[in-house]
């Protein structure tokens, strides 16, 4: 019987500097037996652990064609702080991937709207790559990405590529712009982009990820525009210790965020995240 609590070790293949406090770690699994049966969905997460420090739930921001796993991590706590001292070639423990991920199959043929706030773009980056690779399967594609300042934005090196996706729009917005503004961000919260949006709600699906307060406002705005609850998906954040629906920390109503989520249909969890 496999023991789910044991970590699989992966070597750090590359570390990309995203912002002053965010890095993307590219992990190489080839040495671990995990490599063979590894499969993932955008939106899933892994339990990233450093023995002696602890574990943390981190979403997969992409898996390269050569099988390297990208995890984009902001330095905010114990585990992440310790991880930032790691160098290329060091090993870290991983478990997973866990969770359900974005419903990419179910939303085929629809217009897709992504709303991401801050680090919320990380679990959605896989969706963007999926849509680029399967452009014909989806309708109009709109990305709204907001961060505190233009400097806090991650994946800046991909913005040009995202702008050039056929039949798509990219809105970038920052809460505050004091210095340079090389990516032509607007000033304001993500919700301030909604009046400019080109997607019509009739055949659209919105995928939202960001701080919970941002998701609440975004969902409310989308509702006002005409989106039904069923057309909105959210990715939630909770404290997680096991990732497999046992430790109990991530319970939300009758669901575990780690096992039944982290991506939920808004209709299913609406009363539990205190809608506005």
């Amino acid at each position: 019987m496999m023991n789910e609590y044991y970590p699989h070790f992966a070597a750090i293949e590359e570390i990309k500097e995203e912002t002053y406090n965010t890095k993307t770690f590219v992990l190489d699994f080839s040495a671990s037996r995990r490599a063979k049966d590894f499969s993932w969905n955008p939106g899933q997460f892994m339990m990233l652990g450093i023995l002696g420090i602890g574990e943390s739930a981190i979403s997969i921001s992409n898996v390269n064609t050569d099988g390297f796993i990208n995890m984009t991590i902001r330095n905010v706590g114990n585990v992440t702080n310790s991880l930032f001292s790691f160098k290329k070639g060091d090993t870290i423990g991983t478990r997973g991937p866990y969770g359900t991920g974005w419903p990419l199959k179910e939303i085929k043929g629809k217009d897709i709207m992504l709303v991401a706030g801050g680090m919320g773009i990380a679990p959605l980056r896989g969706v963007i790559h999926h849509i680029i690779n399967h452009r014909k399967d989806y309708g109009y594609f709109e990305i709204i990405y907001g961060a505190r300042t233009p400097d806090d934005m991650i994946f800046k090196y991909e913005f040009d590529r995202w702008r050039n996706i056929k039949k798509s729009t990219l809105h970038l917005t920052a809460d505050e712009i004091l210095g340079k503004n090389p990516y032509e961000c607007q000033t304001g919260l993500v919700t301030s982009c909604f009046p400019m949006m080109k997607t019509h709600h009739r055949n659209a699906i919105a995928l939202i990820c960001g701080p919970e307060i941002m998701m609440r406002y975004a969902a409310k705005c989308l509702e006002t525009i005409g989106f039904a609850d069923k057309q909105i998906y959210l990715s939630l954040e909770r404290r997680m210790k096991c990732g497999i629906g046992k430790c109990g920390h991530c319970q939300i109503g009758l669901k575990y965020v780690c096992k039944d989520g982290p991506v939920f249909n808004y209709a299913d969890i609406k009363p539990l995240i205190r809608p506005l």
Partner: protein
């Protein structure tokens, strides 16, 4: 199913026989209160107990346990398995606790199997004891978890006058008493058991109607009761919740745990440990940068109650069995049955 009867004074011989092969944990009374502990002889056993302070969940899901040990050498990690193959008998468990163990069984199996729990469960034999003297806080009858039991045990004892009635409920149980010279139970003994069952049922005064609770709880996210419990003066004669987490500690179905690592002084080896946690504690819902999804006390007590009512994710397998331990231990005198009643009454 064949039943046997044994004189109370002969129980010692039975225990001594078991002790040759197994460790036995059972109810003892070291001080004023009873608790489950190791039994070395029949004198340690206190079978007349009403309810123990702590439930027997610790024999399967210990309050603190090592998941694995690890070594760090030159940036490489090595993990080492922990083996726990102790075979034991859990002796004299009341029906409410047996039902709680069955709930935990269900919870720790499923999609991801918990090897640690299942291993201990596999190595254990449960000797249940029908509850002839339910305590004042018990409401197991409402939760269909007592005072008498008809499944889930390996061996079942029932006190009938000067004798104990012995029934087997599984192959494990049959194997345990195989070869022992036990007298078959007479019809009179079986009648006596039924009589005891009726008396025990009558002794239970507390009621909580479970079939309504999940729906009722779901519809009452913003009920006044939660504000009363968390911030104002409490509910039905109780004080407001103190968020001490005692209820989780004594609950036989509360299983939530925290996972953390410890390193020894050399920083070269350590352990990954899991420890019981409680949703009543502030840190339970805390995430990086100080975010907390259950910051307010009323949210935490509400979640615990929901879980016990079967209306939270964990609650599908950790709902209440009516043992009444939380009622007894609560320093604020919060009574779950009264909370359920208030939920229904107030709008």
């Amino acid at each position: 199913m064949k039943a046997y009867a044994i004189e109370k004074k002969d129980l010692g011989i039975l225990i001594e026989g078991f002790l040759k092969k197994f460790k036995i944990y059972g109810p003892t009374k070291p001080g004023l209160d009873s608790t489950f502990d190791e039994i070395k002889s029949i004198d340690d056993l206190h079978l007349e107990y009403e309810s123990t302070v702590l439930p027997p969940k610790r024999f399967f899901h210990p309050p603190r346990e090592t998941l694995f040990e690890f070594k760090i050498q030159k940036g490489k990690y090595e993990t080492k398995e922990i083996k726990d193959d102790e075979k034991f008998i859990l002796f004299g468990v009341h029906p409410c606790d047996v039902n709680a163990i069955l709930k935990l069984d269900k919870f720790f199996s499923g999609e991801f199997k918990d090897k640690y729990y299942q291993n201990r469960r596999k190595n254990s034999i449960i000797v249940a004891l029908n509850c002839v003297k339910p305590g004042e806080n018990s409401f197991c009858k409402s939760m269909e978890a007592g005072p008498f039991i008809d499944k889930g045990y390996d061996i079942l004892l029932t006190e009938i006058g000067k004798k104990y009635l012995i029934e087997t409920g599984s192959n494990k149980g049959k194997k345990l008493i195989q070869g022992l010279k036990l007298a078959a139970a007479s019809d009179n003994d079986l009648l006596e058991k039924e009589k005891k069952c009726k008396i025990a049922n009558k002794k239970i005064k507390k009621i909580m109607k479970p079939e309504w609770l999940p729906k009722l709880a779901q519809e009452n996210l913003d009920h006044e009761v939660w504000v009363d419990l968390g911030e104002r003066g409490g509910v039905a004669g109780s004080f407001p919740c103190l968020s001490c987490g005692s209820c989780s500690l004594v609950c036989p179905t509360c299983y939530c745990y925290d996972v953390y690592d410890t390193l020894d002084l050399s920083l070269k080896q350590g352990k990954r440990i899991r420890e019981l946690d409680s949703c009543q504690l502030l840190e339970y819902g805390e995430v990086a940068l100080g975010g907390n999804f259950r910051k307010e006390r009323k949210d935490r007590i509400r979640h615990w109650m929901f879980c016990k009512f079967g209306a939270a994710a964990g609650g599908r397998n950790s709902s209440c069995v009516g043992c009444g331990r939380c009622i007894r231990i609560c320093p604020s005198k919060i009574d779950i049955t009264k909370v359920a009643k208030e939920l229904r009454r107030k709008k």
